[in-house]
Structure formats: structure tokens, C-alpha cells
Assembly symmetry: C2
């Protein structure tokens, strides 16, 4: 199961009553954080997640409201005792941005690995999270992210037998291990059925809608997506390269998303609930994000035995 | 009159219920801010001061809790319409720190002037504030600051007459103007009595007590000073180069301070009031700082006519 929390739902500037947009996902004690503006470490404390668990920080782009909280966040991770490396990934230039901001966090007790994702996007895996970029169109290079938790196939004793796998290796293979026995190599696929449906969460902010966007976030169990304004400010959204709630809802609908949380609300929108009807007319399950909003996503066949 | 607000009173790390230590002083619509950790822009919004008014930002040192909020703070100043230059002053190296942090605030609508104060300290004047460094001893180069609002002498018509100043210039000279009349230059001191007592506010954090410190903040109408721990953690204070409340109170007493606000409380001290007795045994007027604590300081003879 995957715990997800929208730690903040604000855009542009932090407000005393609204943290800047960022999210955390936790899988078996390991976490991925997306975006880290000023105050995200406080939003995370309020949400009750452990800093030490964070192995990956994804940055959508380099506007201050998405990244300027990094030094304080990393220092808090160190204070909490993290010593394992941390991977920070973002568009090209992330290395310079992280190194610059960390001028005030020079002595971290863990290694910071930095992944510069090329302009055309990319994917990588870490800690059980498969991360893929989603193309975005903002005033500067920006990525959305689609994060997948893959799930191996079900154990299939008949397949194991027909593949001639010795009984003594079944258990280890079933749990993902590859076993070598002399010249023979046994891989998990010899005892497992086809991969099962995993869990997919997508996070897309600071972008205009793009034709390929719905496809890129297709089948998301949870889509966290920018709905910065109501339709009344559509023109402002277009000019500043952001999305309205209705535009976000169209992407959610076309992507066949399960749950949808709107986020990155403009400081000029004190109550996003005022415009949620515009999104629900298109995608009825759309919810206005709130700081600290949480859910737990389960694999579809949870409750069934894997044995 | 001078408005002063302790916007935050926390040290090391911001907490959901305590902003990081910083202060603002406002004189006739112009403000000086001291220190700018993560969240200071929010503390300032809560305290109700205008970003646009800030002409000077003093940084005590480069630990993240004193400086990492700068990019967001400067962006908020720009959003509020500041176009006049802003002076940021701090220990040597401030230029590199500000330029590095501002990698995420590249297009500010005002000029940022940076003043690197030499190791031995220094002084400068801006917007009616006379700023002087106070020597500090921390784990990195650090300054306290003493800020004085000077007050000219009282208008003295007898002196004006005996100095042969033409009556028509009295008013302009009285208001601080220097007047040239052909070859003659008339300066304000020709019509004014000796300078009167001004207002002095000092701000000293992140330091061990030093022998010259009381002298350096002598006669402060308000001394904002670090009392990071109670005496129970004196050893920890010594090791980490901070001060206890009692140590701060001794400086306040020796300096003959009027009001004293303790600040920069350790996250491990949830209720500084618990230890305030230790400070009050030495300096009875010591007050534990609180986020948003305000006072207005008046010139001593306020209410008298200057005419």
C-alpha cells in the first residue's frame, strides 16, 4: 500500500494559512517528495511524515515556490539522522540550483545525488518507485511526474514445476530473488504469473494543458493536478502558463484518473471550493486540495493471498 | 517613534508553532529587517508589516535559519511593488550567499545592493537608521547589530541669532537642511542645541557572551538577545556557541538596557517561560520573546514641541 499526502496546495507565494504545493508518497517506509518550496519542511512536520524516510526529491521546475525550501528540508533530514544518499531529480540545471541553494547547508551528513533530466524527459527507479516525467509547458523548463509502484505477478506453482525449478528455490524466487545453482540461473519470472496492476500517482503543476498530457498520466489511481484559478481567470492562467480547474478536470477525465486532487491554488483564490463546480461538471470526483490531505492506495487485489 | 516587532523567536529550525528569529524596525514608513530564515516572509505577513517598506536587510550570519528565507522574501517585496534599491548587509561572504540563494529569484524589480562588513565590524547609515555591528562569537563569522535613530538638538533661536543666521533660513536649518547664500554656508548646528537622546535597539543572537558585548549594546531602549536554553543546558550552549537566558540577562544588566526580549529559543525548549525566572533573577524586566511581539519606542521628550 502507498500513503500519499498533499502537504501543501498553494501556488506562487506561501500564505500564513496555506503551504506551497508539494506531495509525499511513502511505500514500505521509503518516501518520495515532489517539490519543496519555502515552508515544505513545516508542512511535512504538520503532516507527520519522517524526514529520514525521504530517498528521492523530485523538483518540477526552478521557481522559488517549488524549490527554495530545499536547504532547510535537507538540514532537517540530517537532523533526523538520515545518512543514506538522497537523490534530487529535476530539469536540466537542477545541479546548479541545488548547489547554489545549499550554500547555507554545506555539511549534510548524507550524500546528495543529483539527476539532471534531459529536455525530452526520462525515467528512473529508486526505492521501489518507478518515476517517469510528464511533459509540461510553463515559463521555464518544467516536468510533471508519474510515479508507479509495480507489482510482480502471482506465484504460480504449476509454472514453477513445468519450468523445472527445484522446490527448494520456490520461496526465494517468489520473493523476487534470482538464484544461482552451479551453472544454472533461476529468475523470478520462472515461478510468477504476468505482472499485476500496480499503483500510479501523477503530479502535474505549473503548465498549460498539452495534447499528450492525458495519455502521459493515463490510469492514475490518484492525479494531483494544478487548478490554479477558476474560469473567471482563464486569461490570466493562459498568460502565466498555468491551468484552471476546468482545464485540469478535462485532463483527468481523458486520462481516466480514479481520484483527482486539485492543487497549486493562486493566492488570489482564498477558497478553491468556490470554483470546484466548474471542475466537477467535467470530472465529478474532482476534489479541491487541502494542506495535509491524505489517502492510502492499495493494490487492487489486496486481501488475496500471494502465496 | 519607532515600531519594533520580533517576527519570530525560534532558533535552529522553524517549527509549525514558532517562526525563526527575526525582527523588523519601522521608522516613518521605512523598515529594517534583521535576519531572514525560512518562513520570515510568512511571519512578516502575520505581523502585518509592508514588504515594500523594507530598505535594509541585516543578516547576522549564514546559517540557514537566519538567511534561507531571503529569496522568497525578496520576491514578496517585488510582488508588493518595491522598486527602490534594497541594501543587504552581513559578514564577509554575504555577496556569495545572496547571489547563490537568489538563483531562484533572478528577476527582481529592484536593485539589490550588498554590503560586506569586514571582520572587524563597521557601521553605516540608511533611511534614518544608524547601524553598527556588535562583535559576536559563533561557529562562523557573525555580527549582532545596534541600530540607532539619532535625534537632532532642539531649535535654539538665541543661538541662531548669536550665530548671525538670517531669520529667513531658520526654518529650513531647523529641519536639517544646509543653506547656501552666495559665499555663505549655513548648517543646522548653527540653530540647534546639542543632539538629544535618540532611540537604540540592539539585536544579538548566535553568540557566546563576550567581555565587550554589554558595552557594545549600552543604553539600548530595547535589547533583543538570544536566550536559547535554560541553565540546565548551559554546557550545550557553550558547545554550540549559543547563550542561555541567564547569560543574556547578565549582558542586559551590564548594558543598562531598558527593555529586554529573549529570542532564538531552541526547538528543545517548547516553553521559554519555564526558564524566564533564571533571567529575571539577574534582570527583572527580561521578557521571553513571542512571535509577533511588538512595541513602539518614543523619543524621550516626545510631547514637547520641537519648534
Amino acid at each position: 500500500m502507498l500513503d500519499v499526502c498533499l502537504m501543501g496546495c498553494g501556488g506562487s507565494m506561501p500564505k500564513p494559512d496555506r503551504w506551497l504545493s508539494s506531495a509525499i508518497m511513502r511505500l514500505e517506509g521509503k518516501s518520495v517528495v515532489i517539490d519543496c518550496g519555502e515552508g515544505t519542511q513545516l508542512a511535512m512536520k504538520e503532516a507527520g511524515f519522517a524526514f529520514k524516510s525521504v530517498g528521492v526529491i523530485l523538483i518540477t521546475h526552478f521557481h522559488a515556490d517549488h524549490v527554495s525550501g530545499l536547504p532547510g528540508f535537507l538540514l532537517s533530514m540530517g537532523n533526523e539522522g538520515r545518512t543514506d544518499p538522497v537523490l534530487i531529480a529535476g530539469p536540466r540545471g537542477i545541479s546548479r540550483v541545488v548547489r547554489s541553494l545549499c550554500v547555507v547547508a554545506p555539511d549534510l551528513p548524507f550524500e546528495v545525488e543529483i539527476l539532471e533530466i534531459p529536455r525530452e524527459g526520462g525515467s528512473f527507479s529508486r526505492d521501489g518507485f518507478d518515476v517517469e516525467t510528464v511533459e509540461a509547458s510553463h515559463t521555464c523548463p518544467c516536468f510533471g511526474y508519474r510515479i508507479r509502484i509495480n507489482r510482480a505477478g502471482k506465484f504460480d506453482p504449476e509454472k514453477a514445476e513445468s519450468n523445472g525449478v527445484p522446490l527448494k528455490y520456490w520461496n526465494r524466487l517468489q520473493h523476487g530473488e534470482t538464484v544461482t545453482d552451479g551453472d544454472l540461473v533461476f529468475t523470478p519470472d520462472l515461478v510468477l504469473g504476468p505482472p499485476r496492476r500496480g499503483i500510479t500517482v501523477s503530479y502535474v503543476v505549473d503548465t498549460r494543458p498539452l495534447p499528450g498530457m492525458a495519455k502521459a498520466v493515463e490510469g492514475s489511481d490518484l492525479l494531483i493536478i494544478e487548478g490554479m484559478f477558476g474560469e473567471e481567470k482563464r486569461e490570466r492562467a493562459e498568460k502565466s502558463m498555468h491551468m484552471t480547474m476546468a482545464e485540469a478536470a478535462r485532463i483527468a477525465r481523458d486520462a481516466g484518473a480514479e481520484k483527482v486532487w486539485l492543487t497549486h491554488f493562486s493566492p488570489s483564490v482564498p477558497d478553491p471550493g468556490e470554483f470546484i463546480g466548474e471542475a466537477r461538471a467535467i470530472f465529478p470526483a474532482a476534489e479541491p486540495g487541502e494542506d495535509g490531505m491524505k489517502t492510502t492506495l492499495f493494490f487492487r487485489e489486496d486481501g488475496e493471498s500471494d502465496e
